[in-house]
Amino acid sequence: MNSARVKTFYYLMKLGREFELAAKEQYMQGNIAGFLHLDIGQEACSVGTMQAFDKGDVFTHYREHVLAIARGMDPKLIMAELFGKVTGVSKGKGGSMHLFEPKLDFYGGDAIVAAHLPIATGCAYARKIEGEMAGVFAIFGDGATNAGAFFESLNIAAAWKLPIIFFCENNYYAIGTRIGWVSPFEELYHKARHYMPSTRINGMDVCEVYEAVMKAKEHIEEGLGPYFIEAETYRYEGHSMSDNGKYRSEEEMEIFKSRDPIENLKKEALKLGIVEPEYFEETNKKVAKEIQEAIEFAANSPEPDLSELYEDVYCKECTNVIP
């Protein structure tokens, strides 16, 4: 454990957690609407992966606020997007599920389960022929591993030895469906084993996530083809704000909460004496301030103008020829 890295992990996970708590509150106050999928409990996956995979292209599903923050997206721009404001990262047109920022090589925010996997795979193909071996990172849930698009992507990535990391956040549920009801096994790394190196890790431990992605990164950069990581994790909230998550037992919830990625990182760091206790206090304050600023920024930003309705359907050149 390296002190500077642990500090960064803590800061980003805390920022992510507080962002999500704030988003939840703003949703309940009516400032955010639509589907809001919170990442609370899963921060180690979002932060550990993005800290390790610091170059290359990222493709994600709709539970992506913390991943975006960890990638370097300004929480202000994300909060403004959730508020549907024109200052939001997608101009208020995408909302919570559709954060895109090509400048960060961050390509959604896709809300069709598993649909981003063939896209990520195609991107990896292009990177390979360009000689860009930083490759591609694709993150998805347990539910996505039952889709045809998932298996097609594993096959193609392996057949063509593409530089892509498949990262599965196994939180055991796809909305209210337990993975074991619709998959022959719950340890999902088995699904990729015949195609590529495939491993299962503790997704509640940010250091373990980081190490696993570093290893996967070396593998793809060396041109050895794709790599699969299954991270066991848990969402503390319902699937989205419109689901109470009550199909899960209290016991199960307690087991995972006792493995909380943020609390445990702090405990471990203090025990090892590699981070001074004041750091956590200071960081919490800094995070609270940043979140407050994000909310104020979002609240004070203007709505998109009605003229925005027909903007961005086509590129400028095409807009001129299409009535």
Binding site: G92, M97, I112, A114, G143, P304
Partner: protein, 325 residues
């Protein structure tokens, strides 16, 4: 009765009446359905007949076709129409064509239920209406349930029809409390005159029915006319008789739909009216439809992208004035 309760009752009674009726889809079993349509059915009929599937729309429909071939009467639930695109090949190339390609030897008694439309700020990938796509496929029946009475009777009828039915629901209707009436010898293919009038026919379906009904008093007041409103109910086949009887009386027609205007289902209806009833019309027909844009997340833009009662009033008044009515 809540709209979703009417659907639940139709499925429940069909399953009780015939052991070959099964339901499959994402979260339909233990969870009770993401819109609670299948609530209680898992406990009552068990996992063999109330089937929780993985997120695999192609297989949901493909498996349902196989079950139908084997003698079951499956009800496949696709969580929303948006995801039905993943099942498009099974629906269009297989369910819709097996009877014809086999020279009439194959029968696919399959009902595919799916809600669609613009709900509330669900953004572009969760707000589509694809009735125009399914209505363009020979071999499919397409029903659009706007209300509890129709939903109940038409779904029961669909389950026992011997051809594939696309059964369209709307996400905003599920929690709505609605009048409910049991009807004998119900015809699911008949359009319904939901308000009688003399001077203008408004055709609509699904959730737009309610926006139209809200707009009508204002239209009647501003224009000093009486308006007839027809809920199409069945999109394929289309009940041209009811439409034509009304237009012959009113001489004017407006179609209101939520889907994008270009290539929307309304385009087909208006084309048929133009072909068959051109000389009955005193004014060019009007389509009031969604804008030709992906649905935006921001609420103001979202509302700007679809018809609302206010917009229906304004556009009809403008159209009347432009046509000297």
């Amino acid at each position: 009765m809540l709209y979703r309760e009417a659907l639940n009752r139709a499925i429940d009674e069909s399953m009780a009446a015939d052991k070959s009726v099964v339901i499959l889809g994402e979260d339909v079993g233990r969870y009770g359905g993401s819109y609670r349509v299948s609530e209680g059915l898992f406990a009552k009929y068990g996992p063999k007949r109330v089937i929780d599937t993985p997120i695999a729309e192609l297989s949901i429909v493909g498996n349902a076709i196989g079950m139908a071939i084997a003698g079951l009467r499956p009800i496949a639930e696709i969580m929303t129409v948006n995801f039905s695109l993943l099942a498009m090949d099974q629906i269009v190339n297989h369910a819709a064509k097996f009877r014809y390609m086999s020279g009439g030897k194959m029968t696919i008694p399959l009902t595919i239920r799916m809600p669609g439309g613009v709900s509330r700020q669900l953004a572009a990938q969760h707000s589509e209406s694809y009735e125009t796509i399914y209505s363009a496929v020979p071999g499919l029946i397409v029903l659009a349930a706007s209300n509890a009475t129709y939903a109940y009777h038409a779904l029961k009828a669909a389950i026992f029809l011997n051809d594939p039915v696309i059964f369209l629901e709307h996400e905003l209707l599920y929690p709505m409390e609605m009048d409910f009436k049991e009807i004998e010898n119900f015809d699911p293919f008949k359009a319904q005159v939901i308000k009688e009038g003399e001077n203008l026919t408004i055709l609509t379906y699904l959730k737009m029915r309610y926006d139209v009904l809200q707009a009508v008093p204002q239209i009647e007041k501003e224009l000093g006319i009486s308006v007839e409103v027809i809920d199409l109910n069945s999109l394929r086949p289309l009940d041209m008789k009811t439409i034509s009887d009304s237009i012959k009386k009113t001489k004017r027609v407006v179609l209101v739909e939520e889907d994008h205007k270009t290539g929307g289902y309304g385009a087909e209806v208006i084309a048929r009216i133009s072909e068959q009833l051109f000389y009955e019309l005193d004014a060019p027909p009007l389509r009031i439809a969604g804008e030709d844009v992906p649905i935006p997340y921001n609420r103001k833009l979202e509302l700007a992208s679809i018809p609302t009662p206010d917009k229906i009033v304004t556009q009809i008044v403008q159209w009347s004035q432009a046509n000297g009515l």
